[in-house]
């Protein structure tokens, strides 16, 4: 219980430290929103007038205080650049990113768990080597390259799926899925390859354990011994890695959203940075940071569930 409490306190402190870091980073970013809004024919007075209108001339501590107080009430404020509230914008874009990232992770696991296990079972045989080789290639391919190749083949070549864009599920599930499939595969293929390698080594590790040897000695085949006694244990390192990789996927999604013109957090972030829409940048970065930290927290807790040793030690 105490361990849990201290883990939660650690989480809260990290989130707070992140707000300070994010806010400070925004201040040292060169260029400002007033200048961008004023554009190429503006004089220094024009810029100063807009700065005042945006409230950028207020003391930093006041700006920071307003921002944090607002966030605690679930309000990211109103963008001075778009003159629209930021919270709905963040909520809309986070949906897109989460759908993308979660689907990609699920698909990656669907690829990785059977393939990795198979590769481990077939170690030393030619098919096993082929599987390992394929996953090696997958690891080497960057997400965006996978995306470009998929668009060339399945969109421009075969015409099966749209090359870009997004359709919310409420406007038709068919359109939603057809827009989703290529971005998800771009992320999942690479991710699947990475996870396949982890699953394979985790399974190999487990197969060397005494309890599996005992199970085999009692007459089980390697596969059934693994299925009954091994997979749960093999899942521990895989869950850890999958958690870490989920954070990588979030970052990968930023690029993939650009390639497929998806209105997710990545696209929103790029746009907000370009316009120096600092409140929007802060909001998006904070949500991303929060997600990654929360994810780590969940993984830690999940770890406790999966491994009684950790649970008892705590």
């Amino acid at each position: 219980m105490r361990a849990l409490a201290s883990r939660l306190l650690q989480f809260v402190l990290t989130v707070w430290a992140a707000t300070v870091a994010v806010f400070a980073l925004m201040q040292i970013l060169p260029g400002n929103a007033a200048q961008v809004a004023a554009g190429m024919s503006a004089t220094a007075e024009d810029v100063a007038r807009i700065e005042q209108e945006f409230g950028l001339d207020r003391p930093l501590i006041v700006q920071y205080g307003d921002w944090v107080t607002g966030m605690l009430q679930g309000d990211f404020g109103t963008s001075y650049v778009t003159d629209a509230p930021i919270t709905p914008l963040v909520l809309n874009s986070i949906q897109v990113t989460l759908i993308l990232v979660v689907s990609a992770m699920v698909l990656a696991l669907l690829i990785a768990v059977p393939l990795g296990t198979l590769a481990a079972l077939l170690r030393g045989r030619s098919l096993g080597a082929v599987l390992s080789g394929l996953s090696q290639v997958g690891v080497a391919v960057p997400n965006f390259l996978a995306a470009i190749l998929l668009v060339m083949v399945f969109s421009l070549g075969l015409g099966w799926f749209p090359s870009s864009g997004w359709q919310a599920p409420i406007f038709g599930i068919g359109g939603f899925l057809s827009h989703l499939i290529l971005p998800v595969f771009s992320l999942a293929l690479v991710q699947g390859a990475i996870l396949t390698r982890y699953v394979r080594s985790a399974v190999l590790e487990i197969m060397r354990e005494d309890y599996l040897r005992t199970a085999r000695a009692k007459g089980r085949t390697s596969a059934s011994a693994l299925a009954v006694h091994g997979l749960r244990n093999a899942a521990i390192p895989v869950v850890t890695v999958a958690g870490v990789q989920l954070a990588t996927l979030l970052i990968g999604a930023v690029v993939i959203e650009q390639v497929f013109v998806l209105p997710g957090m990545g696209s929103e972030l790029v746009r907000a940075v370009e316009n120096r829409d600092l409140l929007a940048v802060q909001a998006i970065v904070m949500v991303l940071v929060f997600l990654v930290l929360a994810l780590n927290l969940i993984i830690d807790l999940l770890y406790t569930l999966l491994d009684p040793r950790v649970r008892n030690a705590a």
Binding site: A44, T82, A84, I181
Partner: protein, 504 residues
């Protein structure tokens, strides 16, 4: 284990639904199928930050809204000529100070209210107020007074005669608003144009619908026009190839032009713009404060080679700050011919051989590609450009434009008739404008012929002073489905006009 397998089973079902669903893509490339369509999707690059050009700079907002949603009294047609818009006719007094406009009596705003002279007075007086922060509002500074003797008549008196004012009025400063429609300009547009904004989804698109009650000069053809925004130029090209969009407003991947030209289902039109790609040099400070050094650069550069490399040869040689569609254009491409030997002599004369200087380049494809080529040519004549890429707009505006912290830069100046701004006092070019100010002022106040002659002299002086390099005029490469008609091929006004778009 049981939880795990349940999760696996659940996701397997999801995966099956995904893969089983197959193609939802509508690849409607059949030309006959398009003839009955009442909608069209147009791709553009830069998305409007908001809908309020009275406070926010950037070409994307007027591109979407001017002429389509908001109208001015006059507009600029595809040939660069002034045409009636909200005003059906106008007269200029003998002292050339007072314009009397007659408003179209059928004109209404999208909120149903008629467009009256009072609305025009309200709108134009607002340009000078604190509510209007876009610096382009300065174009209305010459206005002395505005009177509305009756509902259909507007009298605008200028402080001094001005040839440029009526032309400027066709730009966003001339937009007529309804007094009740200016509360939330960033999100809601109430205009008198043939279309209204049905939906503005940030990060994705703007949907325009045709106004049934529009009775003005430029009625719309199609019921629905969508502007979809693609940050990524390749994604836009792919979307056109796969039939998700119908038009690319200005192709930013010129290397793909020949692909589209070879495709029978597509059409490519190369039009002109007001965008001069300028090789700016800091005239006020540093290595290029010396005119000899600037002359060396201009002799050292082969503009055609820059254009060929940077934008696939699409664009026009100009040699001055004036596009061929302006009345005072003259061909000045021969003033500083490409002459490497001469350039080397001038480098020696200026004593700048091997001297390093800062070449700031905005992070835009045309600028990056142009700068690489220019830098290579300058190295050939013994100069050492140090290329610094600056994020555009934020960092470039801050460092180069505001702080003048640069020696050389390359940028597309997109405003119409902007030579007096770009080479005006205090601007980042650092040009000594004392030699052109009086000529320009006299030209603006003079007769139309005097205006043309005077402005020619201004442009020639700027070029003769080697104030900057004029690399090329940025092209407008419109690519569309072969059956689209009414495309605005020339981007010579603020607007991308959607009202003539149709299917054949």
């Amino acid at each position: 284990m049981s939880r795990l397998s349940a999760a696996v089973a659940g996701t397997a079902v999801l995966a099956l639904t995904i893969t089983g669903c197959g193609a939802g893509a509508d690849s409607s490339t059949g030309s006959e199928a398009n003839a009955d369509r009442t909608d069209i999707i147009v791709a553009h690059t830069a998305e409007p930050v908001n809908l309020d050009f009275t406070t926010t700079d950037g070409a994307a907002i007027p591109q979407a809204l001017m002429e389509n949603v908001y109208e001015s009294l006059v507009r600029i047609d595809q040939d660069g000529e002034i045409q009636p818009a909200l005003a059906t006719e106008w007269e200029l007094s003998d002292d050339r100070l007072t314009y009397t406009f007659t408003l179209d009596e059928n004109a209404t705003f999208s909120n149903g209210e008629p467009v009256t002279a009072d609305d025009v007075k309200f709108s134009y007086e607002r340009v000078g107020s604190d509510d209007w922060t876009n610096a382009l509002g300065a174009k209305m500074d010459v206005v002395d007074s505005i009177a509305a003797p009756d509902d259909q008549t507007v009298e605008i008196t200028l402080a001094n005669p001005s040839n440029t004012w009526l032309f400027n009025l066709a730009s966003l400063v001339g937009a007529v608003f309804h007094p009740d429609g200016v509360d939330d300009l960033a999100n809601t547009a109430v205009g008198s144009g043939p279309y209204e904004v049905e939906e503005f989804t940030r990060g994705q698109q703007i949907v325009f619908t045709k106004r049934a009650d529009y009775a003005g000069a430029t009625p719309g053809e199609l019921d629905t026009v969508t502007f979809r925004y693609f940050d990524d130029a390749v994604a836009a090209s792919n979307a056109l190839k796969s039939g998700q969009i119908d038009v690319i407003g200005n192709l930013q991947t010129p290397e793909l032009t020949s692909d589209f030209e070879a495709d029978d289902t597509k059409q490519v039109a190369e039009g002109t713009t007001n965008g001069e790609v300028v090789l700016s040099m800091n005239n006020a400070d540093g290595i290029f404060a010396d005119q000899t050094a600037r002359e060396a650069v201009l002799h050292g550069i082969d503009e055609q080679a820059v254009l060929d490399t940077a934008w696939g040869g699409h664009g026009t040689m100009i040699g001055s700050m004036v596009p061929p569609t302006d009345p005072y254009y003259e061909d000045l491409t021969d003033v500083w011919p490409h002459d490497v030997e001469k350039a080397k002599e001038l480098v020696e004369e200026a004593g700048i051989e091997g001297e390093e200087f800062t070449f700031t380049v905005p992070s835009r494809p045309y600028a990056q590609a142009s700068a690489e080529m220019v830098a290579a040519q300058l190295e050939e004549i013994g100069l050492k450009p140090d290329i610094v890429t600056q994020e555009f707009p934020a960092v470039w505006l801050d460092e180069t434009m505001t702080n003048h912290d640069y020696d050389m830069s390359v940028i597309n100046h997109v405003e119409a008739r902007d030579l007096l701004t770009v080479f005006g006092e205090g601007y980042y070019t650092g040009y000594d404008s004392s030699g052109i100010e009086e000529i320009a002022a006299a030209a603006d106040e003079g007769t139309e012929e005097e205006y043309v002659e005077g402005m020619k002299e201004v442009a020639r002086t700027i070029t003769d002073d080697a104030a900057a390099g004029f690399l090329y005029l940025f092209p407008n490469l419109v690519v569309a489905d072969a059956t689209v008609t009414g495309l605005p091929v020339n981007a010579v006004s603020d607007s991308f006009q959607i009202y003539d778009l149709a299917w054949s």
